[in-house]
């Protein structure tokens, strides 16, 4: 037993000497905490995330991999460097654009794009020119990336500046050109006819940024391109060459293209290029015979805008197209508004469209119909509009009529006075102000006892303005109404009559000093210089 104790003591003492365990645990120390706080003293295995390297270390390692690694490492390094925007990464990636492997060049180009898109462009002109030169790369993906990036390359690449040169032993500063380097200029011109459609389309889109003109011959070829995207982009770019006979021939050919979108684009182009040559107008004329109603309509309205008379059969097709349109797409909206350009011919189209299923379409149709035909002069023209089921349509029509119609007659009032819509009755009440006396006598009372207080208030205001016989009595009674809006209308009408109206108000005040309107009457009378 004594030996056992002796060996135990000796073992602990040796352990203490070699430092594997503390001589004694610190007081009150949690053993779990111990293993966490002092891991080197623990025999347990604890997994910890490896320490990440610094950004500089990461970039430097990637640079080495990109320069000296195997193919897979080079690709990985190029991809990783895309995450670290800055001059160090960018210069390495630009250097890798000359890698013999297309995979590395692609990865480098994508990473450079990532820098640009994240707001870290390369500013050095020579470096940017190096990137742009890859528009001539043998790999299509690299060329696509470069051509997509053109708008972001333009600013540093087209920047002028100064350079220091030594002439006869003297250091001289001289300006550098702000235009594209000649070899890059030639490269861009070749890229118009690149074998890849995406590259062609991008260069077509952005060539003007680079101040590289599009040669008519190239444009002519591009207008025959099989790719729809290229074709539509080429159609956007014809203005500089619009007067060239071969371009006009191409546009004429495209006006019969099988794709409806292309034909619609031709209408757009022909309209814009009309100023360059009269042939564009004849193209538009021929397109009014197009089998597609939308193309016909677009061509016809553009001709109408030029002041040309449109054939009645074409107008009929436009009308049918608009009548069959579901809702207000951008094309329908354009055509609908442009029908106005047909002048009197357009009136019939708008009249038909007042029956359309779309309330937005009916709104515009009613407004245009009434404006073009001076339709407010005859109530038979606009009475159906006030019977429309849609409040938006009715309100738009009322706004068009307001201030234009004169003297509603008895028949008009009679046909609308029982309208289920408050907004219509309110409009009638407002119109009583200059309606025919016979109409007021027949229907004024109906509006005066309308179920809606706003209609009644408007009627009171109109009657107050007319001052027909007995109006003072109506105002006096209205001051006793429960509705404040009615009292207010009556007060306003009476205030406008300085002799009899004021005395009615004074009398009301003396009899109803505490009513809701009384304080307002008092203030208004004082403002008018009358002591209540």
């Amino acid at each position: 037993m004594r030996k056992i104790c002796y060996y135990c003591f000796l073992g602990h003492w040796l352990n203490f000497l070699v430092g594997q365990i503390p001589m004694a645990p610190p007081p009150l120390l949690n053993p779990i905490q111990l293993s966490e706080n002092n891991v080197t003293d623990s025999n347990e295995t604890v997994s910890h995330p490896p320490k990440r390297s610094s950004q500089l270390e990461t970039i430097q390692k990637a640079q080495i991999d990109l320069r000296h690694g195997e193919l897979g490492q080079r690709v990985g390094a190029a991809k990783l460097l895309g995450k670290y925007a800055g001059s160090l990464s960018s210069s390495s990636l630009i250097g890798a654009l000359d890698d013999r492997s297309a995979l590395v060049r692609r990865a480098s180009m994508v990473s450079l794009s990532e820098h640009f898109l994240n707001g870290y462009p390369v500013y050095d002109k020579s470096l940017v020119e190096k990137i742009f030169s890859k528009l001539g790369d043998s790999d299509v993906e690299v060329r696509r990336e470069v051509s997509t990036l053109i708008p972001r390359l333009v600013s540093p690449m087209m920047r002028g500046g100064v350079e220091r040169v030594v002439i006869n032993g003297r250091s001289v500063l001289r300006p550098t050109s702000a235009s594209l380097r000649p070899d890059l200029y030639a490269l861009t011109q070749r890229a118009f006819l690149d074998e890849d459609a995406i590259v062609r389309q991008n260069v077509l889109k952005y060539h003007s940024y680079l101040r590289v003109p599009l040669p008519p011959l190239s444009l002519s070829k591009l207008l025959r391109d099989q790719d729809r995207g290229v074709l539509l982009t080429a159609l956007d770019r014809i203005s500089m060459n619009a007067s060239q006979p071969r371009i006009m021939d191409e546009i004429e050919r495209l006006s019969r293209h099988e794709d409806r979108g292309v034909r619609l684009k031709v209408v757009d182009v022909a309209r814009d290029c009309n100023r360059y040559h009269t042939k564009y107008r004849s193209i538009l004329r021929s397109m009014t015979e197009d089998p597609d109603a939308e193309v016909t309509s677009m061509a016809a309205v553009e001709l109408a805008r030029f002041g040309e008379k449109i054939n009645p059969s074409v107008i009929e097709r436009i009308k049918n197209y608009l009548l069959s349109a579901k809702g207000m797409s951008s094309q329908v909206t354009t055509i609908l508004y442009a029908v106005s350009a047909m002048g009197s011919d357009g009136i019939g189209v708008y009249k038909s469209l007042t029956e359309h299923g779309s309330s937005r379409m009916r709104t515009i149709a009613w407004q245009r119909f009434l404006s073009l035909s001076s339709g407010w002069e005859n109530s038979q023209n606009w009475i159906p509009a006030l019977r429309d089921r849609d409040e938006g349509v009715r309100k738009a029509v009322v706004n068009t009529l307001r201030g234009r119609i004169k003297g509603l007659d008895r028949a008009t009032l009679g046909s609308l006075v029982e309208s289920p819509n408050e907004d219509v009755r309110k409009f009638l009440a407002e119109s009583l102000i200059d309606a025919e006396q016979e109409a007021v006598e027949a229907y004024g009372f109906d509006l005066l006892i309308d179920e809606e207080s706003h209609v009644r208030a408007s009627t009171i205001r109109s009657l107050g303005a007319r001052r027909s016989p007995g109006w003072l009595k109506i105002m006096e009674r209205s001051l006793l109404d429960d509705e404040y809006v009615i009292q207010r209308a009556a007060m306003d009408a009476l205030l406008a009559e300085p002799v009899r109206g004021i005395s009615v108000l004074q009398e009301y005040l003396s009899q109803n000093p505490q009513s809701r309107i009384s304080s307002m009457i008092r203030i208004e009378l004082q403002r008018s210089g009358v002591q209540p």
């Binding site: 990440r52 195997e70 490492q73 690709v75 299509v140 794709d259 029956e355």
Partner: protein
């Protein structure tokens, strides 16, 4: 015999659907319109719609390319208690267009009733990974509905939860199958559709067989509601037939030694966990103010995020989203 009978039943079903549609059209107060009208919720009718041309454009394409006939003018409603919802069988909601996803008890009850009576609800942008934050121009294939949608539907169907739609679900192949080919993209047969790494990732992982991350709720055995990452951004076309607006791709790329290099590479941002299709979680590494940098997958693999933009990328994405969107609406029409 049984096959013929099934066909007959199917035709009767389709006919009854159309009959209901026609009845619904005839009972509504508006004037006669051809085709089925899709409703679109805008809680604030005057609010800004991020993709105003998207739904009308998709409906127009559907009318051109399928047998279905939709009214291309969506019916806008601002409240779910609007009685017109019971007259139209499909309700489209772009969750990003709403001021919030908080609805009154009455509205929730109305929506429950709508779904129980056969209505279909499509929650576009109903899936949104947390790391996207307020960035509305991105989508990410997470496999769970966004928290606001989860909270909302717990009030409507407390007993139900959104379940991920299997890649083999009929919704992904009811009309269009697989990913767009060159002919669908209207490009030459020899033209490269996408960069190689992008195409491989898209075909194998991003949208295999033309599928995407969808979750849904079944009511009375019928899929009555689906939620997806934002798809409307891919539906718009201008008058000439060009897709709008441009779309770019985020894809995952690997390379030699990435499992070691990305673990050690410099990184100072935050991390986000996102549920995958298999229920496991990806850890997304994201630098502040920048798009996500790379991902640690539960298999232990590390991959880097790469971003591709350009005409071919955008056209492909639009074509995919349009086909997917049409499949959703056609599925809704037939189920």
């Amino acid at each position: 015999m049984s096959k013929n009978f099934t066909t007959l039943l199917f035709l009767l079903f389709v006919f009854s659907m159309f009959e209901n549609v026609i009845k619904a059209q005839s009972t509504r107060p508006s004037r006669s319109e051809d085709g089925l009208r899709v409703m679109q919720l805008m809680k604030n009718p005057n609010g800004v719609r991020r993709y105003p041309d998207a739904l009308p454009s998709l409906l127009r394409i559907m009318n051109e390319q399928t047998w279905a006939k939709f009214d291309t003018d969506p019916l806008f409603i601002s409240e779910l208690t609007d009685e017109r919802i019971f007259e139209n069988p499909i309700l489209y909601i772009n969750c990003d267009d709403q001021t919030n996803l908080e609805f009154s008890t009455e509205e929730n009850q109305a929506l429950r009733r709508y779904m129980e009576l056969g209505g279909f609800v499509y929650l576009d942008a109903g899936i949104k990974a947390s790391f996207l934050g307020a960035d509305l121009g991105h989508s990410y294939a997470a496999w769970e509905e966004r928290p606001e949608v989860k909270e909302w539907f717990q009030e409507i169907f407390p007993e139900k939860a959104f379940i991920p739609l299997d890649r083999s679900h009929d919704l992904f192949r009811i009309f269009f199958r697989g990913l767009p080919k060159n002919a669908d993209l209207q490009i030459e047969a020899s033209q490269k559709r996408l960069p190689e790494t992008v195409l491989t990732f898209v075909e194998q992982e991003k949208w295999p067989q033309g599928t995407y991350s969808f979750v849904g709720i079944k009511v009375k055995g019928r899929l009555a509601c689906v939620a997806s990452p934002i798809c409307a951004m891919g539906w718009g076309r201008d008058e000439f037939g060009n897709w709008i607006p441009p779309i770019s791709f985020r894809i995952r790329e690997s390379a030699e030694n990435f499992d070691e290099n990305l673990k050690l590479a410099s990184f100072t941002g935050g991390t986000f966990e996102v549920i995958r299709e298999d229920g496991l979680k990806d850890i997304i590494y994201s630098e502040p103010g920048q798009r996500p940098a790379w991902v640690q997958e539960p298999t232990g693999r590390w991959r880097i995020f790469k971003y591709y933009s350009g005409e071919e990328i955008s056209n492909y994405a639009h074509s995919f989203y349009a086909r997917l969107g049409m499949n959703v609406f056609l599925y809704a029409l037939l189920n």
